[in-house]
């Protein structure tokens, strides 16, 4: 699943010789494996910067970024619900914000992050069963997540605009 070039392989075995090898006073208390001598002598899993940027790696990062971004979406949902509970004036303010270009952009990104994270999550749930972990499947899942999340986001917005005149 993880591919290395010949240069990267040597770094994998001995990253401690490059960083913080001489530092031994902090033994035991130091939580950072790159500066803790005892821990650094073991073969470490390579740090993020030595990987060639691959699709599956990017998707893993994207899943975390979209997940963290959804916290902003949650705050927006909170604002909307609280405004409705307060009254028509508060709701008008939120409604005005979401109707504007900034509001719409945020909502569009929120929709996309939500769909991406949801599909990425389904992918993880499939992996939890032990299925779909082979090289082909992970690539297919990655592309499916990207394409389906984009398609769903666009469809949701088309549906939203189509239904707008209903009221």
């Amino acid at each position: 699943m993880i591919r290395f070039g010949p240069n990267e392989a040597s770094r994998l075995i001995a990253p401690a010789r490059r960083v913080g090898y001489e530092k031994s006073s902090s033994l035991g208390n130091d939580c950072n494996p790159m500066t803790n001598k005892l821990e650094a002598e073991r073969p470490l899993s390579p740090h993020l910067q030595i990987y060639r940027p691959m699709l599956t790696l990017m998707m893993s990062i994207a899943h975390r970024i979209t997940g963290a971004s959804l916290a902003v979406g949650f705050a927006l949902l909170t604002w909307w619900l609280v405004a409705i509970s307060i009254g028509p004036e508060a709701y008008a303010t939120v409604d005005h914000f979401f109707a504007g270009i900034v509001g719409r952009t945020l909502l569009f990104l929120f929709t996309w992050a939500l769909m991406h994270h949801m599909l990425g999550g389904i992918r993880h749930l499939i992996w939890d069963t032990g299925a779909g972990l082979d090289k082909t499947s992970i690539e297919v899942f990655a592309w499916l997540t990207i394409i389906t999340s984009t398609v769903l986001t666009v469809l949701i917005w088309i549906a939203g605009y189509a239904l707008m005149g209903r009221f």
Partner: protein, 124 residues
Amino acid sequence: MATPLKRVRGLGAAHRGTETFWRQRVTAIANIPLVIFLVLSIISHIGASYTQVKAYLAQPIVAVLMLALILSAAIHMRIGLKEIIEDYVHSEYCKVAALLLVTFFAGVVGIACILAIVKISLGS
């Protein structure tokens, strides 16, 4: 030889076991239909008046599903953000501060949403 293995056994960076892993999966599964419900609720009410939106949210079934979504999503968000912090923030002070912030954020948005939904559905 003393190895960091003793720290890993049952007590990793999170100082917790598998229950967090399991809870993240349970809330993830719950979030799927609830998020679809939220999206459908919102796109079917674009351009609706304040009274119409409020009346929709006041329906018992809608309120129950919204409360379920808020609860499940807040727990899921708290675990997710916590895991990101535990992975990337190595300074103990910063880590604890960030974890507290995330916990308070999840708590505040969760409680605010729940109060709002209860207030809307009770019509006060």
